[in-house]
């Protein structure tokens, strides 16, 4: 079974540039999460979806960040105008339904904003 796939693996930007991250969850997993992990910190939830619906985006900086999952499968996270403070690893994770569903992470996209 394929795991959670993310691309790109790395991105280097100047401040003000835009970037998109792509995530393909495990097949059949209805819930998809985007986390931001700054260096030496724990993952911090940005947004999560159940199918195509946003369940919680309260931690997503809405002026510059957006996330979609239009068909309830793949998802894209976009930063419109990157800042140095956005430097972090962006992690996508998915889980299925049921009473014993573990969370599985992709390898992440390491973003550096210069």
């Amino acid at each position: 079974e394929a795991g959670v796939t993310q691309s790109p693996r790395y991105a280097v930007l100047q401040e003000g540039q835009a970037v998109s991250f792509w995530c393909d969850p495990i097949s059949g997993h209805d819930t998809l999460y985007w986390y931001q992990q700054p260096r030496d910190q724990g993952p911090q939830l940005l947004v999560y979806f159940r199918d195509e619906a946003v369940i919680d985006n309260s931690q997503l900086p809405s002026d510059r960040f957006s996330a979609v999952r239009p068909k309830g499968t793949n998802s894209t996270l976009k930063i419109q105008s990157a800042k140095q403070g956005d430097t972090a690893t962006y992690l996508c994770a998915s889980r299925g339904q049921g009473s014993n569903e573990r969370l599985f992470f992709g390898h992440g996209t390491k973003l550096s904003v210069l």
């Binding site: 993952p43 969370l103 992470f105």
Partner: protein, 110 residues
């Protein structure tokens, strides 16, 4: 924020010894998951817990929902156990919302 507190923040173990990591929760928690992030950054799921105890090889984890904590015991530590351990709490008020602690950085030395 401080909803999930992990201790200790860092730990050095000699190969072959035992230790315990802990998570304390200030939010009502229904389930807990434990992860190991290896030095390359990949996060591996170790346990999914409802209240109770699970064991897998040299690892054993307990979740006590009444006292709002979870522990991860490592027995006979090996070099490959090195990395950062995270716990994540599923909030009772927000199904599927998982909040992570800040992690315990473990270094196993010969």
């Amino acid at each position: 924020g401080d909803q999930v507190k992990q201790s200790p923040s860092a730990l050095s173990l000699q190969e072959g010894t035992n230790s315990a990591l802990r998570c304390n929760f200030s939010i009502a928690t229904t389930t807990v998951q434990w992860f190991l992030q290896n030095p390359r950054g990949s996060l591996m799921n170790l346990f999914y817990l409802v209240p109770g105890t699970k064991e897998n090889g040299r690892l054993k984890s307990t979740f006590n929902s009444k006292e709002s904590y979870s522990t991860l015991h490592i027995r006979d530590a090996q070099l490959e156990d090195s990395g950062t351990y995270f716990c994540a709490a599923e909030r009772a008020s927000s199904f599927s919302k998982l909040v992570f602690g800040q992690g315990t950085s473990l270094s196993v030395v010969p």
